[in-house]
């Protein structure tokens, strides 16, 4: 595999605010690369620099060897963007939205018509082709944004929180489509706050927090390295902590107290499960470790505003 995107000490500042703080990463052709992080972590600022709508403050950033800059039309010509906000043209119909967009990429009319039919089918909006945008549900609008991002047959797709605010059906349809695109060799960059989404789609992820990359890896290795295999959640009063931690110490699990819950992170949860049955505690949850545990461990469980 060869590299499509290289970032070295990439920095973005808005006045005094440092949105992206000297991060470095490489993205390979054909992979799905995820930026995870809470609100304000710098995910969107990073991808906006990649698709050349936001200038790089410092450091270097290249796509296919071309330096990213506001005026780099070549990168924009071959990149598809699924924006976080719904930026459809509300004065136009579904079809007109795609038609007008195809012009911006200099796609010949006849070719554009053909592609639009295919794309409407791809996102299951054929029946809505002449509808106005305000007659669409949020899920349909998001699907139309996907169709729009594909009009120029991009080799690189940037999906900035593509399923925010969607119901499970719509979300799964979008995941399906993104996986289909990946199967066709398209490189996908995803930003998300949904750990399930990252686990479903991404080959590799980075966890961002306060403009920095905290960890990088595949979802599986990150979970195993940071958390282990199993998580035990015990809702129990805090004064019981010491006793409980003592009686579970033989299993060498990491533990953490958050609010009303004591968490144990374990390499192998088999034995601890037996012990828990022995102790016969109420309100105990034993489950496999997820990316969400990694995320919360790295970025903290307290609210981030």
């Amino acid at each position: 595999m060869n590299t499509i995107i290289i970032a070295k000490n990439l920095t973005k500042r808005f006045g005094k605010l440092i949105a992206v703080d000297g991060i470095s990463f490489e993205i390979q052709k054909g992979e799905c690369f995820g930026f995870l992080g809470p609100n304000g972590a710098g995910k969107t600022s990073t991808v906006r620099m990649i698709h050349c709508v936001s200038p790089v403050t410092a450091g270097t950033l290249t796509v296919n060897g071309l330096p990213c800059s506001i005026d780099n039309r070549t990168i924009k010509q071959t990149t598809g963007v699924i924006p976080q906000e719904i930026t459809l043209d509300i004065d136009l119909t579904v079809r007109e939205n795609l038609m007008v967009f195809s012009r911006f990429f200099d796609i010949p009319r006849r070719e554009a018509k053909k592609r639009i039919e295919e794309l409407l089918k791809f996102v299951e909006l054929e029946a809505k082709r002449d509808s106005k945008i305000d007659q669409l549900s949020t899920g349909m609008k998001r699907r139309l944004l996907i169709a729009r991002s594909l009009i120029n047959q991009p080799k690189l797709i940037i999906a900035d929180e593509p399923t925010t605010g969607l119901d499970p059906q719509a979300r799964h349809l979008i995941w399906q489509r993104l996986r289909q695109l990946k199967a066709h060799g398209v490189t996908i960059i995803l930003t998300t706050q949904y750990m399930e989404e990252a686990q479903q789609l991404c080959d590799r992820i980075v966890v961002m927090y306060q403009g920095k990359i905290l960890k990088e890896g595949t979802p599986r290795t990150l979970i195993e390295e940071e958390i282990g295999k199993d998580v035990v959640e015990i809702r129990i009063a805090q004064d019981q902590d010491e006793k409980l931690i003592g009686s579970l110490s033989e299993f060498s699990c990491g533990h953490e107290r958050v609010g009303d819950t004591l968490f144990f992170y374990c390499r192998d949860g088999h034995d601890i499960r037996k012990k828990l049955v022995e102790l016969d505690l109420p309100n105990t949850v034993h489950r496999p470790a997820t990316l969400e545990d990694v995320f919360l461990k790295l970025t903290g469980r307290s609210l981030i505003e």
């Binding site: 808005f14 709508v53 506001i70 924006p83 930026t87 012009r103 911006f104 200099d106």
Partner: protein
């Protein structure tokens, strides 16, 4: 400045969306000049008597025509652009394509010019129905060229305001304190001859004044060399306003 032929794509986008607004805007573009010409031209004209040997309507038409072009282009680049930028987030999706921020803004100015030309043309039709004609066909062509330049000038000036506007209300300062008073200081409704000297000098530097002079010459057939200076003044002002307008808009669009 990163301008390209893609200005045209942005213009076409506006044209496609315009289909839905054609009827109301045509009615507005017709009724407004009619209102001016009937109230001022016929109503007030009866008291004013002859102006340079011709009815007041002949004095009024060229000025109102140019202000219609300027105002229409202004409103399009104020309210129209602001809605597209803030409410519809249209610019955000535009600049993610090979269309540059400069293309997008210039495309919207071009659109404002087109809307201005529609207003000006409708106005001319109304004027001709009332018996006021430009002197010759070349004169009409000259008028159209001038209308295009005035459209770009006012569209660009409006872009400067839009690039700084935090909200809709901000536009009131510009429309009420700049555009509307400008009509009275640019010789649209009455000649500037009786103004004190300083006011005459002030008027000379307003962007509408030279346009009104050229328009009036086209309708009266009385040309003078000062029209060349008038035209050059418009062009210079326009280049400056366009450059500043596009740069400021780019600064607002790209963060």
């Amino acid at each position: 400045m990163n301008l390209s032929y893609r200005i045209y794509h942005v213009f076409v986008r506006n044209l496609v969306s315009y289909k839905r607004f054609v009827v109301p805007t045509f009615i507005a573009s017709l009724v407004q000049p009619l209102f001016y010409l009937i109230t001022f031209g016929i109503g007030m004209g009866a008291y004013v008597g002859l102006f340079g040997g011709k009815p007041y309507l002949y004095f009024l038409v060229p000025g109102v025509l140019m202000s219609a072009v300027g105002l229409t282009a202004s409103y399009e680049c104020l309210f129209g652009t602001f809605v597209k930028m803030i409410h519809e987030k249209l610019y955000d999706s535009l600049i993610a394509t090979p269309v540059s921020a400069e293309d997008a803004v210039a495309g919207d100015i071009a659109w404002g010019v087109f809307r201005g030309l529609i207003s000006g043309t409708l106005m001319m039709v109304v004027a001709m129905a009332m018996g006021v004609f430009p002197v010759s066909l070349p004169a009409v062509l000259l008028l159209f060229v001038c209308m295009i330049f005035v459209g770009v000038l006012f569209g660009s000036l409006a872009m400067i305001v839009t690039s700084l506007a935090p909200n809709f209300d901000f536009f009131n300062y510009y429309t009420e304190l700049v555009l509307t008073p400008m009509l009275f200081f640019s010789g649209v409704f009455f000649p500037l001859d009786n103004f004190p000297a300083w006011m005459k000098t002030f008027s000379k530097f307003l962007p509408l004044t030279p346009a009104v002079s050229i328009s009036r010459a086209v309708f009266s057939g009385v040309y003078s060399t000062s029209l060349i200076t008038d035209f050059l003044f418009i062009v210079v002002l326009e280049v400056i306003a366009f450059t500043i307008g596009v740069k400021l808009m780019k600064r607002r669009l790209i963060k």
